[in-house]
């Protein structure tokens, strides 16, 4: 099942200055998003690119932002990441749910799940896989990248089948 560390992850980022959490829901990230909804800090957009656009506007206003999405939405976002986030040097955190991590996940996730690590690497998006053990260090790492005006990814693996 999804681990409880996700609500701690949310609260830790909130406490450390991330003010905006924008995105499109993903079941892998359910507990993170639920915690944010409880705190009334979540903005749900219609598409992932739109979420990134809103987050960029907030970042231009010097307000720290995180964008959450499933890896299907990450695939939707490639051009926005290259031609907006990276082009202008906008410091954002991308929290991405990794569908297709398990070989027996649903068929529509299989291909993107398989190519995801290579895709992120080719994109030049620095990232870390977040686990129950390393979540706090991963957050601190992400915040440090942002302070250098770099966008980065935090990836959560889908380790259950429903």
């Amino acid at each position: 099942m999804t681990k409880n560390f996700q609500s701690d992850l949310f609260n830790f980022l909130l406490k450390n200055g991330v003010e905006n959490f924008i995105g499109v829901p993903d079941s892998t990230l359910k507990k993170f998003i639920d915690e944010g909804l409880k705190k009334k800090k979540i903005l749900i957009s219609t598409r992932e690119e739109e979420a990134i656009g809103i987050a960029v506007g907030m970042s231009l206003s010097k307000s720290k932002s995180l964008v959450f999405m499933q890896n299907a939405g990450f695939a939707n976002s490639l051009s926005t990441i290259t031609s907006l986030v990276q082009l202008y040097g906008i410091p954002l955190i991308f929290l991405i749910g990794w569908r297709g991590y398990l070989p027996n996940d649903a068929p529509e996730h299989e291909k993107i799940g398989k190519i995801q690590p290579e895709l992120i690497k080719n994109l030049g998006l620095i990232s870390k896989i977040v686990t129950e053990k390393n979540w706090k260090d991963s957050c601190l790492w992400a915040l440090k990248q942002n302070s250098k005006n770099l966008a980065c990814g935090l990836i959560i693996r889908r380790e259950f089948v429903d």
């Binding site: 690119e49 739109e50 809103i54 231009l60 907006l84 040097g89």
Partner: protein, 187 residues
């Protein structure tokens, strides 16, 4: 009907030194050539997202009026933005759409905006006020009118396709961002 550059000149003369987020392609190029200033954010890639970037700024800077210079091709690519803007209802957002029913920057191919009324959809999405204008007098009148009303406001300007292609934006993207942010911080 006017060409885009002429319509844009009328607007920037009327609104003065306001924050403008401009859509990619000829819209940003025209704005750069007509009236370059530090509080213009030229979005040169990421087609469709000018209104989303503006929404993010409008939420965080509620005391500033934020103008979006959008195009029909751009907003048609990100129609969901109207839903999100209409759900949040930022009072300080003025969404201007230059509608020539063309993808002008890619060679003038048609868009489907001639079959639908974008401003009517914005109205259904909770925009407080929407306007459809096409000549100089109407543009000036509506810009005076919006000074006394709350947003989100959409002004759709029907324009003619054509005009000389504006020069490319000469400022590197990082610099566009930096000067925009420095200026925004001061406001």
């Amino acid at each position: 009907m006017l060409i885009r550059k002429k319509a844009m000149k009328i607007i920037v003369n009327e609104i003065g030194n306001e924050i403008i987020i401009s859509a990619n392609g000829f819209i940003s190029r025209d704005l750069f050539n007509v009236c370059d200033k530090e509080n213009n954010f030229y979005m040169i890639g990421s087609m469709g997202l000018a209104s989303s970037i503006s929404l993010g700024i409008a939420i965080k800077k509620p005391k500033n009026q934020i103008f979006v210079f959008d195009g029909d091709g751009n907003i048609l690519m990100n129609f969901g933005s109207l839903v999100t803007i209409g759900s949040i209802k930022p009072k300080n957002l003025v969404h201007i759409v230059f509608d020539n029913s063309r993808h002008a920057s890619t060679g003038g191919q048609p868009t489907n905006s001639k079959f639908i009324k974008i401003e009517k959809i914005a109205q259904k999405c909770n925009y407080s006020h929407v306007f459809r204008v096409q000549n100089e007098q109407e543009i000036i009148k509506v810009l005076k009118k919006i000074k006394a009303i709350s947003g989100p406001i959409m002004i759709l300007i029907k324009i003619n396709h054509g005009g000389k292609i504006g020069n490319r934006i000469e400022i590197p993207p990082i610099e566009i961002k930096q000067r925009f942010m420095t200026n925004l911080e001061k406001t």
